[in-house]
């Protein structure tokens, strides 16, 4: 028998010769193969499971004998009996190399395993979280060589895991001694690595071998809604998701009204800070409950938000963000104890990371979108719009990335809309208006049936039909425009102009009746002229921001549009373009990224290198301040028309032709406009 053997790991293809008797885990480590281990090779954690191959591997030029690895041993048997193990699997720390062998590392045994982000996306998140579990065996105290328990734990982490230095906060110091004794000097440590090279931080300790839960919370702190994903920091799985309304709404619907509140009311910013922190604590508790874990298992949070929310969350009066030159108190990323920001519901030593802000109006949420969508990696020019109460807009490709934000207001989220409501069961989310009959049909959240399909009434009886959500109002306005009920200037026609009695007078303007629930004691749901104006203002701001970036880039068309934001997934390219929310481009090239800011937060939560990456990248992004660009006003006015007063929409024209109506002319009869393809 040879004294050494060839070991080949798949899928990496890494190979090397090792002395007979070398454990597979040791071989993997020496070759830099990505093989997980929490217990450090003690046969406890089973993270290092491998699948050895047997037989001929012509590709690798070896034939593997049945006895290429040492025999199945008692440690492996004990683990299998206790927790189960797939057939053919071995524990990498127990199985020793006895002859040439090919060893496959299954995905779940890879430390840097990739997690598919969502079915709709090819993007993956590579796991490399800042916080990890490390099992260690700690030397017992010796009064003849006195040293602290923490110092001996630090020594164990250094010897067994090459963690150079460690700091511990008060709460972990408090629990350290009982945990070490309960674990009989074996503990699992949750250790946070600082991506700027600061000392590692001991966040928690558990007696003996502990395999989770170990959770992180990715928070997209929006002006209107707060969304959170609770992620398992071991494998990146989303354990639970949740959202709440931002309680600051009671101080002001949009950002500027909150800034005003802070300016007008002494202590107003402190009130708003407290309310958002309370909401985050409640949200943490609720998602932890949904995942059936202790909220104290949450070791890290990543928060992304716009600059005003950023300042209010950090406890900074946002007043400077309300006036030129829109100076941020701090623009850098922040990494600090979550308790310092009042997040008391989670682990007392939990860390908080905020992504950097790009500019006074372009926040950490825009940075998160940049992290998620990576425009700097694209060949073609992509416009990324994150639609919310404030819209973040990125335009770029490999050569250059620009960013701005635009104050769209909350109309896109269904706020300040007469029948608007948040996306909840009972809300109209889809709507179609027949161009001939001008009759609507719609779907509500909670049922897959259209309103003209059999069984619809029964299916919606328990939720009722309660209002229109953000995506519903956009679709409704676009359909009204497509049906000629609304003209290019946004004016709703009289019945005589539109040809339908659903146009109903309300004072000096007209509304369109979508659903009259009054017979069932439900609301009358209409789209009013005021609703149209609100959507026009919002979409003009969005479009004008995009155009400013195109000016700066020196282009008059774009290749791709990515609609981000919670409801981006629900808007069709056609409807967005009919409204003129976004510039013209091939309709197939308009895609949805879902909550890209939230995804960016998740990436930063699960991959520490992404933090350093986005911090560097943000410095490369060129910022455009919409509030002071003279052309913003011009772009805004031109964008008021649907789709646009000046810009052409050649790709949209290939799909449909919008009715050429003008309800301001007092013209009669032909309110339905010209026929169009749908």
């Amino acid at each position: 028998m040879a004294s050494d053997a060839l070991v080949i790991f798949t899928p990496s293809g890494k190979r090397g010769r090792f002395a007979v008797g070398t454990p597979v885990l040791t071989a993997a480590r020496q070759l830099g193969v990505d093989l997980d281990s929490v217990c450090g090779g003690r046969g406890i954690c089973s993270k290092c499971q491998v699948s050895p191959g047997v037989g001929a591997f012509p590709k690798h030029g070896v034939t593997v004998a049945a006895d290429a690895l040492s025999d199945w041993n008692a440690v492996e048997q004990r683990y299998k009996d206790k927790r189960g193990m797939l057939d053919g699997r071995r524990l990498g720390c127990q199985a020793k190399v006895m002859g040439d062998v090919v060893i496959d590392v299954p995905p779940e045994s890879q430390l840097h395993r990739q997690v598919v982000r969502k079915a709709a996306s090819a993007r993956v998140v590579q796991m490399d979280p800042a916080t990890r579990l490390y099992y260690v065996e700690v030397a017992e105290p010796d009064m003849h060589e006195p040293s602290g328990d923490l110092e001996r734990l630090a020594l164990a982490l250094k010897d067994q895991w090459q963690i150079e230095a460690i700091e511990a906060g008060p709460s972990v110091l408090r629990k350290l001694q009982p945990v070490l004794r309960k674990g009989k000097w074996s503990v699992t440590a949750a250790v946070f690595r600082d991506h700027h090279g600061g000392a590692a931080k001991l966040l928690d300790v558990f007696p003996g071998f502990y395999d989770g839960p170990l959770a992180g919370l990715a928070i997209d702190l929006g002006s209107t809604t707060i969304a959170a994903h609770l992620c398992d920091l071991r494998d990146g799985r989303v354990l639970a998701s949740g959202g709440v309304m931002n309680p600051q709404i009671r101080f002001g619907e949009d950002l500027m009204s909150r800034v005003s509140y802070a300016m007008m009311n002494p202590g107003g910013d402190v009130e708003m800070t407290a309310s958002v922190r309370d909401a985050l604590n409640a949200l943490a508790i609720s998602v932890a409950a949904e995942a059936v874990i202790d909220p104290r298992a949450i070791m890290e949070t990543v928060v992304v938000c716009n600059p005003v929310m950023h300042h209010l969350f950090l406890g900074i009066d946002p007043v400077e963000l309300g006036q030129a030159p829109f100076a941020l108190a701090t623009s850098s990323s922040l990494s600090l104890p979550a308790r310092d920001l009042g997040l008391s519901a989670i682990n007392a030593e939990a860390r908080l990371y905020t992504l950097p802000c790009i500019a006074g109006h372009v926040g950490a949420d825009a940075a998160a979108v940049a992290l998620s969508e990576a425009p700097q990696l694209r060949d073609e020019l992509v416009l990324i719009v994150d639609v919310g109460t404030n819209a973040e807009i990125l335009l770029g490709n490999k050569k250059r990335v620009l960013a701005c934000s635009s104050p769209t207001g909350p109309a896109f989220e269904g706020a300040q809309i007469s029948s608007g409501q948040r996306a909840a069961p009972g809300a109209i989310e889809r709507i179609e208006i027949d161009p001939e009959t001008k009759e609507p049909r719609f779907r509500v959240i909670g049922s897959d049936l259209w309103s003209d399909e059999p069984g619809f009434a029964e299916a919606t009886a328990h939720t009722g039909i309660t209002g229109i959500c953000g995506s519903g109002i956009i679709e409704a306005v676009a359909e009204l425009r497509m049906a000629g009920i609304v003209d290019a200037a946004g004016l709703m026609g009289a019945p005589a102009q539109t040809g339908t009695e659903r146009s109903v007078a309300e004072g000096r303007t007209y509304s369109y009746l979508i659903h009259d629930g009054s017979a069932q004691n439900g609301p009358r749901i209409t789209v009013t002229q005021g609703d149209i104006r609100a959507i026009q203002l919002a979409k003009s701001a969005l479009y004008a921001g995009a155009r400013l970036l195109m000016d700066e880039m020196g282009v008059d068309h774009i290749d791709h549009v990515v609609l981000a934001g919670a409801f981006g997934a629900h808007i069709s390219a056609k409807h967005a373009m009919v409204l003129g929310m976004i510039p013209d481009c091939p309709l197939d090239n308009v895609t949805s990224a879902g909550n890209a800011a939230g995804t960016g937060a998740r990436i930063a939560l699960c991959n520490i290198a992404a933090r350093a990456g986005i911090e560097a990248q943000v410095k490369q992004i060129h910022k455009v301040e919409t509030a002071i660009e003279p052309r913003f006003q011009e772009h805004f006015v031109n964008a008021s028309a649907m789709p646009h007063a000046v810009d052409s929409f050649p790709h949209l024209s290939t799909v449909l032709t919008l009715p050429q109506v003008n309800h301001n002319m007092g013209s009669s009869g032909d309110g339905g406009g010209r026929r169009r393809r749908r």
Copy 2:
């Protein structure tokens, strides 16, 4: 005129040639001369004042012309008009080198100036505090190149003061924007440097040029008393000092009874933690009030204490310190935000530093004594005892330093003594007993008169004569021994044995009446047999600890004794040696260091290098665990006699001979013992 000139600085003697027109401050900086500046050479702070010389300087080989510096300028005149300046002084940043010149840097202009610690000591503290003020001019925000105010401040600190990176906590982030604007983009930053090379921390900002107060609090957290010195971090002056009783006394007089309280009462440690933190907050407020500064001007605290107090202050259950192997939760120094330990009365970003602990029974207070007294620098062997409820004992010289602690109990502090009280007006602090008449005379705190001097009654009328303080009881017992009223075994004689009616029977033992205040409605002040026993126990523990260190060192005598601790200054070498508190040595070599632990805390507060120094030194100190040394018990028993049952006291014998009495023999008459020299 030459294009350059020779500049010589005194007292450093540093010299160099500089181009004509170079400001003196610039020349000083380039030569590494220790010349202060807070405003960075803008003529605002006046810290860089220098005294130029004129005439012949044969020692330096130059003759200085009257016009060797540029003319007195308007900036200097404005400063002098506003704040005053000594004649002959110049501002180093304004005066320019025009010819060869000798420039003296007066002590108050030296950044690393030395502060004489106390009149009684030759030791000085060199100022090099972790926290300093830096005046900077910050770039205004530019919305075309957006960056945070903090980032621009950091850039200014880097450009103007070479501070590489800075971190800011929530409270300073909150005040940053208004302060920058109030100061019109000029601010003074209080910046903390981490002595382990971590990022500098921005603790506070002040609009414009701010010259203090900038304070630090050195705290000696004892089992019985808490003492604090409020120091000016700019020049090391003690602004105020204060002390309070440790409120944990209600949970137990000594350390082990507090550990027991924690063991017996769930949540007991939390109660004790809260009580000591409350006391520290109150003490901070009170010393700040005494110094007439805002407590928020306190930017740093240094705490020294024994291991049990250390754990209780940090919020760690001290239960492990109550049983072998006496494992500390952490032994290293700690540097963390003071708010994390509940110190809310001081600056919200204030830092807290604790010195390292030496062992489970030898704490950060012993480390502080080592820092203050520096036994490792001595040629001769020195024994340093810090007398308190727990005594810290160090023995060493240049070759080796040993340390232990010994549980003396609170008797030395006047507790558990029948007429004991804390050192306050009205307490007997000195006592003499006439060897012939056996009559006492005494002094009380608040008067310099002895009780047998005219006017004593009037002088003490307002305080009364209320009890005996710690140093008083030690002196009283020693005097009783010297007068033969107490024998070597510690037994108080009957009147027939002592020859004085001041020996009064109390049950089966005798007490000695010092003062009967009952006629004035005051207390009867006596020394009881129980008091003698308490002092014997305390001094035996102290002596036994010292002897253990001598055993370990392999010596049977020592060269020097330093008595540290709050009352060390009040005990005479003779009395201490008569009692046998300390081993024999030349009486002139027994000196007092005052509160050496508190001084060590002050040194660590004022000099950042001292922190790294003591952290390294503590690792070199050999620890002896008294609780498990078999010989401790033997030493303890032998030390019960006064001065000692076995060890000889040759140096003491040259000064006095103690009466050879034995009150246990029922012997009569000759209770006064033999005559002795005093």
